[in-house]
Symmetry: C2
Subunit: 120 residues, 2 copies
DNA sequence: AATACATATGAACAGTTGTTCATATGAAAG
DNA sequence: CTTTCATATGAACAACTGTTCATATGTATT
């Protein structure tokens, strides 16, 4: 939160201080909003969305995902790292193979919510 | 959808063709997934998230939003354009002033869903 | 018509992001 | 211990994104 000084290019006959103050009070803190944007940023790439959609159906190893999506193993591995650090996927190791799966139910909810909006 | 030829760096002893085919059949078409990613990309910027949160509370003009968020009128206007073309906000003109508001209820749902995941 | 002002827009620039390529790590099998 | 292979990682590069600055558009007011 910060004091609002007039911006260089605006003289603000239109500024309603009361509304601004009410809205400002209702705003979550900056950090939460930043974190929320970071979360959506992770969903905002079609390769990652495709990976998540694959994992919606079945636990799967890196190679299978790469093959399924027609991308290199490296590309998928890099993206799985992003998904992992956003805590959207988890993994388990079985010998040489690493199986990835969705971290929790939230991921399903978020994706299907977005898809609903897209499909309308 | 595409045939899956082995990738250069993978010999795939691990590839389970049956699972891959099942998942491939369950996948939405590429276009839908791309559109979904595009939608989330719009949410994936903290300035735009903050704008949406402001509009969650009240219809507001460009100048007020700029003042409230401590950003230039130009920056806000550019971002409103992005939000508008993603059909997340709508606007009405009243003289010199343009008031922006949320386009529909989906926006609320999507945001609060994401926030729920962030807050846990 | 001329001015004032809220908003929109185009160009430019820095910062970020996704992929590729080359290489490293880690686990099983010989 | 060496080889094989699935996965991870670092560097590099092109493509994309968000802001700023300068300027244009559109709507009142005089």
């Amino acid at each position: 939160m910060q004091a609002f000084e007039p911006m260089p290019h605006c003289d603000y006959m239109c500024a309603h201080t009361d509304i601004i103050e009410r809205v400002q009070a209702a705003m979550p803190n900056e950090e939460a909003l930043y974190t929320l944007a970071e979360l959506y940023k992770v969903f905002g790439d079609s390769t990652r969305i495709r990976i998540l959609y694959v994992l919606l159906e079945a636990e799967m190893c890196v190679c299978d995902i790469a093959q399924l999506l027609g991308l290199s193993q490296s590309a998928i591995s890099h993206q799985l790292r992003v998904l992992k650090s956003a805590q959207l996927v988890k993994y388990r190791r079985d010998g040489k193979t690493v199986f990835y799966s969705l971290a929790d139910a939230h991921v399903r909810t978020i994706i299907s919510n977005g898809m609903e909006h897209v499909m309308e």
